[in-house]
Amino acid sequence: MTSPAAILSCSDLSIGHGHRVIMAGISFALAPGKILAIVGPSGCGKSTLLRALSGLDDPQGGNTSLLGIDLNVASNLERESILRRTGFLFQGSALFSSLTLLENVEMPLKEFSQAPRREIRQIAEYKLSLVGLADAMDKLPSEISGGMAKRAGIARAIAMDPEVIFLDEPSAGLDPLTSGRLDDLILKLRDTFKTTIVLVSHEIPSILRTADFCVYLDPDTGRMGAYQPPRGFLLPNAHPKAHAFFARAQLPT
């Protein structure tokens, strides 16, 4: 029996802004249906890495392969097809302010599926109720809280049943209960649809609960510190800074 091919992999990837490289030497391979967490101190390039992995931005160097397509040599058509098979939650949710939450979730379905109008509505309502927004479907983004906007952003990201979902700080700004429900949802999506999930997060308990693997970015060396299951970071022989990062979050306050 062969192990399944990686759905997302990168080798010696370097990322940055303009000509400035902020993080280099990022290499890993993620199997389908796994959850990967990207962690590291603020400003170390987590969101930039997420954008590069999803194909939204070009990296400074190295190779990335997503859904079996090498992003370095992918044509515009291939990149478009990748973007349709993936979902992305932005840090600021990026909901369309002139559309209601329901219309926001319906939007990708209307654009990219041939499903009839009633079915699109049904799916959008279902996706919003998955994230606990069954009663806020007709609200505009300006009428809801930041946490609700985050959840609506997730509902839009999963609208098309994507194979890979990229989540930029999904639980930031959420109360512990909603955050816990979100973890449930992430695990459920992985278990039922075998969705691969890549997320940027600072919530160590949530990462320990959900993630199969974890990339630690070390801003001091400007390189990837470690790639391993998150529980490994709690062990004393783990990467020292990553260990400190995880252990600090575990300390009672």
């Binding site: 369309f96 302010s97 002139s98 379905l109 599926s113 041939q114 499903a115 009839p116 079915e119 509505r121 049904q122 799916i123 309502e125 279902y126 996706k127 109720s129 998955l130 994230v131 606990g132 927004l133 069954a134 009663d135 806020a136 479907m137 007709d138 505009l140 983004p141 300006s142 999963i158 098309m160 049943d161 429900r181 449930d184 949802l185 459920k188 278990d191 039922t192 649809f193």
Partner: protein, 364 residues
Amino acid sequence: MSQTVPKAPLVRTDVQVDGLAVVVISGTWKLHDALPDITVKGDRVKVLAEGLEDFDSSLPAWIYGNFKNIRQLDLSQLPPRLQALVNLAEKSTHPEKSGEHESLLEQFGTWGVESSSSWSRALDHIGQTAWGFLRLVIGRARINWSDFSLQLQTTGVDALPIVALLGFLTGLIMAYVGLIQLRSVGATVYVANLVSLAMSREMGALMTGVIACGRTSTAYASQFGSMNVNQETDALRVLGINPVEYLGVPRILAVTLMVPLLAVFAAFIGVFGGMVVACAGDLSVSQYLTQAVRAITFKSFMVGFIKAIAFGFIAGWSGCYRGSVAKRSALGVGEAATSAAVLGITLIVIADAIFAVIFNLFNF
């Protein structure tokens, strides 16, 4: 025998003697396929899966959408992962329904409450603007003067080409219309009086006011609206700075100063436009100019000038007001810009009518 072609999504409903509706689902359920319709009577439903091959989230969405209002829904015979997906959604559903239509009376009441609050917001803004100008006069206003010089340029100098074009064409049109009537009574020489009087007393100010609403009010509304979206006005407020005074007063002042000057410019260009038409036909240039200079009295010039000051203030205020009450969204900013232009032009026409009555009463 292996099945290579996926079966279409199918549903079968049997109602048992005790009223329980048994819904049997089968086939392949995919997001891109058309899903079957179902209507279930009663409030007890049991869903079964027989020959269910593959599904994506369209199936839990279909179950959720069709049975969310069923009182007794039995999903226990479904595959565990399908059950889990449906139940995960149901946990977040609350019984009350949003999006109910309001009755006519409710709509009327909502309209009444909203319009009264919109009037009170407008009055509040007028008060704040007046207070800002008062503080400006006594030298205590906190104003962003770097904005002021920029606004003088954008509302005044940058508007010169469009004001010139529209002023010229207005004068030209009036001369054409005037000549039709005056020619029939042999008084074509008075076309110069008509054009110069109308341009200096009325049309110069009115046209410039309308242009200011189109250019400046909408720009102010968008600026203030975007600042609302980015919470910049809130940031000023927490610093103890009144945004109406700090940002609104210099803008309103700039447009109030610039519109009268532009109106004078428009009036002169309009007289010139009329001259082009008049001199192409019946009159000589000297005849036209002599008549025009005779017609423009200091009184009529002042009438136009005073009106233009008022129109400038209205254009500036409507933009700042609509922008400051804009909703915090891209749509809100757009609505603010549109309503600023509409409000400005409406108020200018109303003010013009009031001026006409007042000047007539005082024989001005």
